[in-house]
Amino acid sequence: MERIGQRFLEFALFFLILSFVSFLFIQLTPGDPVRQMLRVDEVAVTQEQIESLRNELKLDEPLHVQYWYWLKRFFAFDLGNSYMTNRPVVEELLTKFPTTLELALTSLLVMLMISIPLGTLAAVYKGKWIDHISRLFALIGSSIPSFWLGIVLIYIFAVHLNIFPTIGKGTWKHLVLPSLTLGIAMSAVYVRMIRSSLLEGFQKEYVKAARSRGIAETRIFFFHVFRSALIPLITLFGMSLGSLIGGTVIVEVLFSYPGIGKLVVDAIMRRDYPIIQGYVLFISLLVIVINILIDMSYLYLNPEIRLKKGERK
């Protein structure tokens, strides 16, 4: 339990530092935020309007005062408004996040459905043709850019066969191509990892011992070998979290899928800094939470860690 407490403390500190750094960044960015917000170039705006907004945002105050106000708003969950739509950043992020989450989870599902069977077969039939195919798949899969895979899939399924839509969100059909793209791209790496984890598991002494007790092979595989491979796999998953997040960004842009990935890329093109800042903070929060979850899963999976303080030899 104290581990989680410690983690939260680290996270709070990290977040504080992060908020300060991103605040600084906003200050350093070129352009005048007020002019951008009022779209001075497009709409006729009086000097008074500019002055009043500037006052409201306290942009003329010294830096530390500004930071203080920023911090106050931050803890009130107010990250400012988007320059483009003028809606609160928090609202934009929260409305679009479920979409990205849906995409990420479906892609993970696809990835597991491909890599677990393939990796398992490659480990069990090591050296046979299925093993070589998995190797080829892994090699080529990790050399293909995910967006190219997406384009090819669009070409096959949408253009020629006209089954699935390629743009936007709506029915479950819209989810198919994007999640297939991301899922296949990620599974290329995972197939090899699963294979090597399982092979290691096969070598363990307790597998031989279980066999000597007359326990069925399938049972040994699922309850002893596979279970033992879970911890390294979860570790690897934690490390590949970055590519999952990056992957959703690319796929969302490719398929015009309205999630937070597309949101931030559009924001970058349009210099919508509040959104960019909001995205960074949001993602860091997400990464930290997921890492905490992963740590907690270790506790569950590895009783030795859990009971370390308890009885020992």
Binding site: F14, I17, F25, L28, T29, L139, I140, S142, S143, I144, P145, S146, F147, W148, I151, V152, I154, Y155, V159, L241, G242, S243, I245, G246, V249, I250, V253, L254, V264, V265, A267, I268, M269, R271, Y273, I276, V280, I283, S284, V287, I288
Partner: protein, 273 residues
């Protein structure tokens, strides 16, 4: 040198040499092309493969093959440059951090750890977001994102080697610090790092292509494989060759880089033992 040792060295360095050769070819090839990758010719837009334009033309009538070769220069060149800069920055910092320790080490480690908390793709996205979309910013972002892990690796190698007896001997026999670093640490570090970097080269190429694809990297009219795939989006129906060839180019390059990296990793770890 015994013959087995020579074969070993050959096994390690030859694939690396091939990779470097491939990179050099990519960088030089455009100069041998006759067609101009930037020349717009609206009469010939979206032309299929022909004798004059071996791979056809794109939506602005530019020769595709020339663009792909020129794009190679950009994509591979920038990746390679990024790799060199990453090494140039992280190796010295890693050595200093590991060798001297103290406050410098602690400071570096804290910074690196907080940086590593971010997925590297996001760092790239954020940096380009704040500085503006450009190939240079993308390269900078990738360098910053990747340096962290390399500094760590170098530092950990140094930490392990530092305690070994032969270093103690060198120090007690009065060798100057720089000499120790150059003669003893460097070979160890370089070997391991080159293996890592070859594996990473593919990832860096993919990152640059991906970032350019979503518009954050190379801006038109710069030919870059990822950007070219972005441009072809609307013509998937009418001119599929536009999307096939740049993709194949990326795939081949990353594939070769990954193969060499895998091979080096398998052999280098064996030799290390």
């Amino acid at each position: 040198m015994t013959s087995t040792k020579m074969i070993r060295l050959f096994q390690i360095w030859f694939p690396l040499f091939l990779l470097l050769l491939y990179i050099v070819v990519i960088l030089i090839a455009p100069f041998l092309m006759s067609q101009d990758p930037l020349k717009i010719n609206m009469d010939h837009r979206l032309a299929p493969m022909s004798r004059e334009h071996i791979l056809g033309t794109d939506h602005l009538g530019r020769d595709l093959l020339a663009r792909i070769l020129a794009g190679g220069q950009v994509t591979v060149g920038v990746s390679f440059l990024a790799v060199i800069l990453i090494l140039a920055i992280s190796i010295p910092i890693g050595i200093l951090s590991g060798f001297f320790g103290g406050w410098f080490d602690r400071f570096c480690m804290r910074t690196v750890d907080s940086l590593l908390a971010f997925p590297d793709f996001i760092v790239a996205v954020v940096l380009t977001g704040l500085l503006g979309p450009s190939l240079f910013h993308v390269m900078l972002a990738i360098i910053i994102a990747k340096c962290g892990s390399y500094i760590r690796v170098v530092r950990s190698i140094i930490l392990v080697e530092k305690e070994k007896d032969y270093i103690l001997m060198a120090r007690t026999s009065g060798l100057r610090t720089m000499q120790i670093v150059k003669k003893h640490f460097f070979p160890h570090v370089i070997g391991n790092v080159i293996v890592l970097v070859t594996l990473d080269l593919g990832k860096i190429i993919l990152m640059i292509a991906s970032l350019s694809y979503i518009g954050l990297g190379a801006q038109p009219p710069v030919p870059e494989w990822g950007a070219m795939l972005n441009e072809c989006k609307s013509y998937v129906h009418s001119a599929p060759h536009l999307m096939i060839f740049p993709g194949i180019a990326i795939m081949c390059t990353v594939l070769i880089s990954n193969l060499v990296g895998d091979h080096l990793r398998d052999h280098f770890t064996l030799q290390n033992r």
